[in-house]
Assembly symmetry: none
Homo-oligomer: 189 residues x 4
């Protein structure tokens, strides 16, 4: 009941930020959503920016760790690649607000992203560069990265907009397969 408020603030802030944008969400919005007064927020956070950063740090790390775990477990490059795609989408589907928020943050605060360690994007980059170095991936790694990250974001977006239909597990599998085939099996240079 004590530490709860802090979490509630983070929860509602995440929801509102991902819905309306960061600047578009006011401290009052958050306070109202939590059911406290504006002043109370400042017992738990020093500033609005602290909430903004803490949310990025929290979910960035979460996703980062999931991917790290998957990378370690998988035996083959194929398994690694597909599992990473699935992990991304799994996170996105389970925590859509968080995923949307991470994208917004990357878009609007790209300069500040550098201050954080544990950027999931970097793990993906490493994987793709590694695959290319080993000759598994013929496509230029920069392009492959663009295809993968772009597709991930859009698949999530279109799924949440209802453009892409079907069970989430199906969507995850299909996306992983599609990207693998596109980039690896259709060997392109």
């Amino acid at each position: 009941m004590v530490a709860r408020t802090r979490d509630l603030i983070l929860e509602e802030a995440l929801r509102l930020f991902s819905e309306k944008g960061i600047k578009e969400t006011t401290i009052r919005d958050i306070a109202r959503a939590v059911g406290i007064t504006e002043g109370a927020i400042y017992r738990h956070f020093e500033s609005k920016d602290q909430i903004v950063y803490e949310l990025f740090e929290k979910y960035s790390s979460q996703l980062y760790e999931s991917i790290e775990k998957v990378l370690k477990k998988a035996r083959t490059r194929e398994e690694q690649f597909k599992k990473v795609v699935i992990t991304f989408l799994d996170f996105a589907f389970k925590k859509p607000d968080a995923f949307r928020y991470l994208n917004i943050f990357h878009y609007l605060r790209s300069r500040e992203v550098k201050k954080f360690k544990h950027i999931p994007f970097l793990l993906l980059k490493e994987l793709i560069v590694g695959m290319h170095a080993e000759g598994v991936l013929k496509t230029e790694p920069e392009y492959a990265l663009a295809v993968v990250t772009g597709t991930l974001e859009r698949v999530f977006l279109y799924k949440s907009m209802g453009i892409i239909k079907g069970r989430k597990s199906k969507v995850k599998e299909r996306t992983a397969q599609l990207l693998w085939r596109s980039l690896v099996e259709c060997s392109q240079s």
Copy 2:
């Protein structure tokens, strides 16, 4: 001389919106960039939102028309597809602020997008659905759409960040080819 100021306002607003965000850019910022005072802006526009909408309308239509033209000219589906991809990237490279702005607007004002006709995305959607209906494209159109739109945005982003290197014409060609092969030639279901 009269119309010039109005255009300058749009120009600077676009630059600032795409750099810092819409809410993050103030009327004063725009006025200063143009070299006039805040009040003067209201001689040309009724409100900040009018600038926001007009910019979206303007560049959305521009891109829409370029794509329309290309679609009409092209003889084959392959030519259509590749030319559309190239047209998108051409627009993005020539008017990076506008392209970034269209993306921001889509992200933050998705509800309002519906008020506008001439959404380039819809032309792309139509093309892909058409290709699928004709059997040219085996990949499910929703996924193909996700791959194409996502990749386009990322290729532009990574090019402007310096992650993707090389001449712009090369990048455009390569992206078009890559997407065509991935989605069409690697026949997938």
Copy 3:
């Protein structure tokens, strides 16, 4: 153990008030300095103002009583005068925070000073007026008062800033002698 906390609060409040100012010091600042929470302060004091007043009352009285004692003991006007000067500076050097605080309070709350009895300044005034009435002091008492009080404050200030150097006992003696000679021996009208 009970009274100890109360005293600690007064102690830390005095230090902070004299360092940063009254309005500039928050209840939270004081609580943190003492090592308790904000709420706990209100177990010991009804309000911030009560702390402010009690501190003034406490140190004002202390200095008042020291001076009173000295005045009673001394046999001659010269001894009285010099001892009073020394007592003022002795208090200032031993309790610099308190002395600074008394000055701040006089400056910012001059209206409220009247509510208190035991204002050290009044004893000094009485002494000087008395000396003048007896013909010991030729200088007009109002001016003498200005010279004495002003000099005392500045000697303390310059000593704590390092502008005036030397042992404190020396500074006290020298100031007493200097003021006595200036105002009394150099008979002026």
Copy 4:
């Protein structure tokens, strides 16, 4: 009528700051006194602190220049000394709010004083150190400085409180003479 508002803000801010203190005066207080809204203040000043600094700079410089002028004109050390004392008090009597404000600022923001050039106190210090070096002043310069600055402040204070009576010109002359005799003619070491 245009530039007037800016000056009015400075004027009222000075009055309120010197009456109630800096932290104790709100932007709203100033706005109300001027007869405008709070927001309007920010068209003329970037922040409350800017007003605070500008006021210090303005009156500090004014007094500084008056003293500089007097120092240049005067032929003898005696004339210099007395004229400087008179100039200080003249400023204090003509602009009591400004004089009180300079004192408050020195007291509460001593660290920030170093950022400014043209501190009147420094001219006084120079004069006294010079007089001592030449043997005109036998009293140690640090003590002399304490007596002079302390007395000046108190004479002003007691005059404005009604403790010191008489015409202002009389008070100025008397203070100058009293300080000269005390520190110089009563040769002390």
